[in-house]
């Protein structure tokens, strides 16, 4: 855990070689660490500092500026429920409460099996489909409580593994276009 694996060190070196100033590779390397472990722990930041000739404090400074870099362990699925104005008016808080009850955690907690972390977020720019949420930053709109339960079951069973990879995994290729089949179908790049 935590420090980059040998394979990722190779990838890191390749990434660093793309930039005239190695320090520019800081964000890509943080993504790499998050992809490896699902979150970024202190020793990963120290390792990145070593690779880039930065102090760990400098790495922390940048890493902590971006809320999407997680410095606490998160589950395989990060569920982000919007409670900003449009979602609020359309039952966002009720959805969040339902999610807490269904997952058995409160906001910012992770289920004991490490599958889900629940968080409350501000507007996701998906207001037309309020209330909405994201799982690992993939959108799900017009989410009813039943939709939510089904989504949780599907995720847990690995039925959405293709479209919603584990937290931290980056899309390196464009996924094929997805036609909207269900109201809760993911949309994004192909939508």
């Amino acid at each position: 855990m935590a420090r980059l694996t040998q394979e990722n060190v190779e990838r890191a070196r390749e990434i660093i070689s793309r930039y005239p100033a190695s320090r520019s590779a800081l964000l890509p390397l943080l993504y790499l660490a998050q992809e490896q472990d699902g979150w970024i722990d202190d020793s990963a930041m120290e390792h990145i500092g070593d690779l880039l000739d930065l102090t760990p404090a400098q790495v922390l400074g940048t890493c902590s500026f971006y809320t999407m870099f997680k410095r606490q362990p998160v589950g395989r699925h990060l569920v982000s429920v919007c409670t900003n104005i449009a979602c609020l008016l359309n039952g966002g808080y009720e959805l969040l409460e339902h999610a807490e009850a269904r997952l058995g955690v409160v906001v910012d907690e992770t289920t004991p099996d490490g599958e889900f972390t629940l968080e409350e977020v501000e507007c996701l720019a998906d207001c037309d489909r309020a209330p909405c949420l994201q799982v690992n930053y993939r959108f799900f709109g017009n989410v009813t409580h039943d939709d939510f339960d089904r989504l949780v079951d599907d995720l847990r069973a690995g039925r959405l593994a293709e479209t919603v990879p584990a937290h931290g995994v980056l899309n390196r290729e464009q996924p094929p276009p997805v036609s909207v089949r269900r109201a809760d179908a993911p949309h994004g790049a192909g939508d």
Binding site: D42, L54, P56, A57, Q58, L60, S64
Partner: protein, 889 residues
Amino acid sequence: MTEQTETKKDTVTVTVDGKTFEAAPGELVIAAAERHGIYIPRFCWHPRMKPVGMCRMCLVEIEGVRGLPPACTTPVAEGMVVDTRTPVVKKAQDGVLEFLLINHPLDCPVCDRGGECPLQDQTFSFGPGESRFVEEKRHFEKPIAISELVALDRERCIQCARCTRFADEVAGDPLISFVDRGDHTQVLTFPDDPFTSYFSGNTVQICPVGALTASPYRFKARPWDLDQVESTCSTCAVGCRVNLQSSQNDLVRMLGVDSEPVNHSWLCDKGRFGYQAVEHDGRVTHPLVRKGDELIEASWSEAYAAAAKGLADVRDLHGAGAIAFLGGARGTNEDAYAWAKLAKGVLATDSVDCQLDDGLPAAAVLGLPRATIDDACRAKAVLLLGPDLKEELPVLYLRLREAVVDGGVAVVELGPQSTGMTRHAKTTLLYRPGEAVEVARALTSGRDPMPDAGGVRGEELAAAAGILGRAGEGVVVVLGRPSVAESGRTVAEAAAVIAAAWPQARFLPALRRGNVMGALDMGLAPGVLPGRVGLDAGREWFSQEWGVLPEEPGLDAAGIVGAAAEGRVQALVLLGADPINDFPDRTLARRALAGAGFVVAVDTFLTDSSREADVVLPAAMYGEKAGTTTNIEGRVTRVNQKVTAPGTVRSDWIIAAELAQRLGGDLGFDSTAAVWAEIARLAPSHVGLTADVLGRRENRDGVVAPYEGEGPPRHEAPVEQIEAAAAVHQGETLPSEAVAGAPEHAAVDEPSDDDDPAGAGRPPLLTFAVGDAGSTAAPPAVDAYALRLVAGRRLYDNGVTVRHSAHLAGLAPSPRLRANPYDLDRLGLGTGDRVRVTSSRTTLTLEVAADTGIPRGSVALPFNLPGEGAADLIDGTQPVTDLRVETTN
């Protein structure tokens, strides 16, 4: 180009608040306005750092510019009209301050900064007076220690980024940074990675609120109780300008003062917090005289009588040459002059050395053409042949680092191990200990292809020579002692080789003890007299005033310690010197103290050495006396008294004068001013540098000796003449009488003498050339089983200042033997293993650590850390020290 555009290039005309003045193009509005008496409020802008425009406190109105630009990021332009006091600006200032105060705890009554706080002050002068914010402020644990020396209260922080920018831009130690964002933003270190910068105290000084406080000063005083005086830090020889502050006769704080040629307002933490030693209750406060095994408190007259009797007995029985003086590099120039006059002019011994064989021969330091810090920072190339500047002369390191990072100065480093400067150097040549001369010869040989030399590969030498060669005549050599485990003579000889090959090269000495340069200038070294003249060259000039003078050149520290160990030096006077800890070879130093029949220690604390003395005379410390001091450049500045010394402690020059009287002499001065007046009258390099001159406003940053009066600068003598003069000072070609006033020599060194009748007969200043360093045995051939020792110093060591400063004492690292991983591998060792280390002197058990900055075949062990260490291993009689390293089992 027309004439008009040309004048435009020089200055631009701007109008601020109706006042029209000229400013330099590129100058920032905030700075230009301030120079003309218009203060624009600010938090984030600092004149010694790059502007960032973070805090928005400096918003101004500029005619024709939309919005309110920050004065700290806006350069002046021709015809610019700026208003800093309009209603719109006032409204913006109100807004910014109200905003900054939203999360500010307003705990001024319990804040160290209260009373001198820019946030308080600017809120009073420019603020709205009321806040509309009634919600809960943000809360943090307060305060947290971000290092042993600095505490951080995040609630008070206004996120100006002065501290983080200082750590990154100026110190090069980015160990603090902004963490999180928005209203969660806080300054933090990485967990378990404290802000252990040698320069951390500066962040406390520049924090515009009380968010950063210094542990040694917390809750010690309120600003309005403080009394202050401007002085010069005397912890090392950079000579940073400071404000010395006291409360109720206790030194409580030192603040950096911005001296343009020296410290740019920065201090290192040892200099900043070392005042704690002055306040330590372990000071010697009364004279002590030995009765049997014990040192018993005595009156000054008893102690003087005992000291004078001991010295007179030795003089009468064994001659003046059996008396020797060690130390004196920590006092004022006046102190040093008084001791030199007592030793040479009353006792007539020349065996006097203010260095402890841990520096460079006096002739080299005084005789090589000198560069200033500014010269080095503006040089085309700098050759660094000396100690780790970050460890020994920290603010010189800051200045050079800035010159490299911002000014593009090329540094070529030449040393036995890598240093704090290595990452900024264009190239670092790691030579084999003891072989600096070989490297210097190769470097200046111009040979192609370049042969290997001193353990450095030819290609590396060629590359370095290329960098230095391109700089042509503009090379400044920063010259000091890279390691006390190799002879200082070889380093001096290397310098002479460079000086001969590159006649225009100039040298900036990198010696560390507070006033070592002043002590050398004042003659506290063998073979020299005050004012940078040789003993023989200055004989006639000084004998008229001083009466007697030593017949023969005396011994240097190594000679004195060796002779004392053999009983040839019978009386030893220690001027704050602690040879047992500071002389490279501890075995020899112990023998010397035992061998000298009579030892007088003039000291501030009882050290391992002064505990052995027969008479201890308690001396005043820094801040307890006034006078002048001299930095590495030769810059003479004033040091001032802030507190009264404890007990019956006296200044060194008084002790010297009173001791002289009991020895039948008369130093002829009765005040510090009188001592200086004599120096300014007699010491050839200081003639004319009177208290009056030093006190002038334009000389606030001090005056660099040799003092040249108001006249044009001294012209550079061609090399052949320098060498001729060197031969003269060695007494090799001309009898001394022929030297004084000999017209051809006066022409070499004192070209202005012709039009300066007062200077007639003044002896020529020393010069230094190849061969002057004296001979040293060549280091023995490298033995495949041995590793050659490199011993440099650490900022936090076992010296008097650190040991007696409560907050610094714990910072000294524990000694580890560092070696190249290749050598460790070869020996089947790894970092953390304990090994037996054997030299011709002793065997020690130490921990090893792998370090790629140590060349193969060498091992590094810091000098003078607490406990056993390098001094026990070093054999001072050899040019280098070879060690055997074995596993402990």
